[in-house]
Symmetry: C2
Subunit: 136 residues, 2 copies
């Protein structure tokens, strides 16, 4: 299987899907913890590169969303990684405490219980009270 230019090349040509979006993983640059997954359109990616602060495209609100614009929990982008076929991005970010709107550091605060296909367990404690931060 010969490697393709998009795989071995050094030109950044992110592939946006049929909705013009690319999935983006925000990963804590220090700890390696995966904090969240969101989506970017071209404008969000350009803004992120230019500003150094993570900006996503909210699928539910259909608009650009600077992470932390309401909560203050911004993501300072240290590095932008892309995968082999350039259809997924990792942002290595520096963050303060509390990246998930539910109150946890990471959105991934639950795990499937061993031997079950439907029961979750909490694997993290909340680090802030979202009721004190979000107004709506």
């Amino acid at each position: 299987m010969a490697a393709k230019p998009i795989e071995e090349g050094l030109e950044f040509t992110p592939k946006f899907d049929e909705n013009g979006l690319i999935p983006v993983i925000a990963q804590d640059a220090k700890t390696g913890e995966v904090l969240m997954v969101a989506y970017m359109n071209r404008a969000a990616l350009d803004l992120t590169i230019q500003s150094g602060c993570a900006t996503y495209f909210s699928r539910s609100r259909q608009k650009l969303w600077k992470k932390g614009e309401e909560s203050g929990h911004v993501q300072k982008v240290e590095q932008i990684l892309v995968d082999c076929d350039q259809d997924c991005i990792i942002l290595k970010v520096t963050v303060d405490a509390g990246q998930c709107h539910v109150g946890y550091q990471s959105c991934f605060y639950r795990a499937l219980k061993k031997g079950s296909d439907k029961d979750l367990k909490n694997i993290a404690d909340k680090v802030f009270d979202p009721g004190k931060i979000y107004k709506t």
Copy 2:
């Protein structure tokens, strides 16, 4: 903003998208390195839970794909995490050397150069020769 049952609840109810797929991050359980991102349909998720080996749905081939079925580089699933709105999954996996078909440990072997919006640089070395493993 009151938390929703899907966010605070302990029932695993993964949300598949309009194509019946959910994005899945494979993360090295020991090092925290993000290895790859792929997709699962319901059958792939069930097989992964039942077998303990990561099985994805290949969008290009439109079929189930047990990771490592050709290369031998399987992923042993240690833990399955889900995010707040249950539309993304992390597999914490134990792996051997070389998870990306291009020859690297991780699919994320390139990063955007500082100050550029189009130039990538390699940030990893290959750990195997894919020409010796893949036949086509």
